[in-house]
Amino acid sequence: MLDQLLKPERVVLDLKARTKEDVLKELVDVLDLPEDKKEILLVTLKKREAIGSTGMGKGIAIPHTRSLVVEDVHLVIGRSREGVEFDAIDGKPVHLFFLLVAPPQDPGTTYLLTLGRIANLARKLARTRDYLEIDDPGEFVAYLTRLEQEEAQ
């Protein structure tokens, strides 16, 4: 199910950002949206973080929101080998980010299902940390797809 959203061009393997706000910005920047929509999305993502960090611990975060400015569900992946302080629940720096955005109305509930799939995947990823070793976005996507299918069994 995630394979429809996972795209090499939506994977940033070396995030330049060093702060929470800059990470969100760098991830949003990957989306094909006009500047003002990016800005609106960023405002909303920051509000979502304000009600509780999406840093779920063990180096992984899933910043997400619904937003009027997107028409479909989008996923962007970012990795930082150095790690970024993200107010994660375990207080540890975050190395892997899954940015998930969805329109306000989403009759197929793709968004919430996807969020669940990513959370499952994150638990599995946290065990080995192999994701820190891969250097090619295409390979990264293939790795995640493989891992997700294992999960489904």
Binding site: D36, I40, R48, A50, G52, R66, L112
Partner: protein, 116 residues
């Protein structure tokens, strides 16, 4: 300049998240306390009030009651709520570039790609 519509959209999006947070499948991943959402919504409302948006907030609530939403995008010169064709030169009201649909009254946000 477009700050007010940005804040209204953020408020509306946060209310959509509020609905998600009520769901068990969401709560099992991110157990967000209800008070945290209320607090952020109030913060947003305060920001809107500070910009002189008291009347805008009242209207926002009324539209939400009426339509289930208060602000939509204009897409191709059309109100994305009632699908009325909008006049080419929609006059911005005094509230910081906040537009209203002349047909259904909903708040409109015209994105940069439309203005180009």
């Amino acid at each position: 300049m477009k700050k007010l519509p940005f804040l209204l959209m953020a408020l509306q999006d946060l209310e959509a998240t509020e609905e998600d947070v009520k769901r068990e499948d969401y709560r099992s991943i991110f157990p967000v306390p209800h008070q945290a959402i209320e607090r952020e919504k109030e913060r947003l409302r305060d920001e809107i009030r500070k910009m002189g948006g008291e009347r805008v907030l009242e209207r926002y609530e009324r539209l939400k009651q009426q339509y289930g939403k208060s602000i939509v995008l204009t897409v191709g010169g059309i109100c994305f709520h009632c699908f009325a064709v909008l006049p080419t030169s929609l006059e911005a009201s005094q509230q910081e570039g906040l537009l209203e649909c002349p047909n259904c009254g909903i708040f409109l946000y015209q994105t940069d790609e439309e203005e180009a």
